[in-house]
Subunit: 204 residues, 2 copies
């Protein structure tokens, strides 16, 4: 495609790296950005810059934030005795949208996945254990995805928790399986997630 | 979605403006960009900047270029007596890929479309007429898309050409309708386009 200029070819290549975008869609986006006003195209570029400059992980729970602590960790009205462990920030959002949970969260930033070469030390499990040791949670809700990898991650964490000496030994629960095994948490609807929260079960 | 930070929300909104991307795909891309290394995310932002800074339209034919003239207009080996009129740079690329055309191009940068409020003066028709007046083309190939709007645009241009006093009165042809009416030129396959080029017909 020597008829496209070098910059355009490079931009198409960068868009092709994004999830869900193939060559045709990347090209379509490139033509769109060529056509629109400079201001509009640069707004997208600047938004990417802003995210990479401003957004970091909450010091406590690893949620996304532009401050030291995230909105939830900063909120004194949240129930400080219950902790919900999720894989990703998007899972937190899905749970928040049910309006049925007022406790705190801990985001693992992934799940243990040997096939993808993701081991426990690449997640925030050490920080989670430390947090449980030094806080007074009465309940830990395991809300990893209902997949083999999500379940294994939950089991790994529970194993780690068994050996610790916490001030209060928290009850460990998991989301009720109103959600279908093999599905992705972020795509479950609110009702399904609300049921799963309401009927959460003792682990084992 | 107050749980997403302001920068992330803004970035998702910007991605949603791109053609073919809905809310879910924009979110998926956002999570991807949050996860990847800063360098990788900024490479995309910088590529957009580079395009908007460097890429302009060729002074002669309105193809994309990073210099004053595009690669094709700069190439002395191209046949200077035949001019192919297309709607968009991507149509030029599709035709180039057939390897069956060695003349010059003129890109209209759109088609006359009253419903989309695109009138002739928003296209490069005046520049095209001037170019034909001052050059010695022996043939003009109308290669607008085989749609109602593409055809109307071609007819409009032919009407304009009838009244001009060119050094040589060029023959006006159009692509053979090996291509299906209602389709988009950029998605036609090479063979189809090659046939259409080989069997181009006299206009009317």
């Amino acid at each position: 495609m020597s008829e496209l200029t070098e910059s355009v070819t490079r931009m198409i290549k960068e868009f092709e790296k994004l999830p869900g975008l193939g060559k045709k869609s990347a090209e379509r986006i490139a033509y769109h950005l060529l056509k629109v006003e400079k201001k509009e195209a640069l707004a997208l570029a600047d938004a990417i810059y802003a995210v990479k400059e401003n957004v970091r992980y909450c010091k406590h729970c690893f949620n996304l934030t532009e401050q030291e602590l995230c909105e939830i960790c900063r909120d004194p009205k949240r129930n400080q005795t219950i902790l919900c462990v999720v894989e990703q920030p998007r899972d937190l959002i899905a749970l928040e949208q049910t309006g049925r949970y007022d406790g705190l969260y801990h985001i693992l930033l992934g799940r243990i996945a040997p096939l993808d070469k993701i081991s426990p030390d690449q997640l925030t499990i050490t920080a989670l254990i430390d947090r449980i040791k030094t806080s007074s949670f009465t309940e830990i809700v395991m809300a990893t995805n209902p997949t083999i990898e999500g379940d294994s991650t939950a089991l790994y964490i529970i194993k780690q928790l068994e050996s610790i000496q916490a001030k209060v030994k928290p009850r460990i629960t998991r989301l009720a399986r109103g959600i279908t095994t093999g599905n992705d948490l972020q795509f479950a609807n609110k009702e399904m997630l609300a049921d799963a929260l309401a009927e959460r079960q003792s682990f084992r």
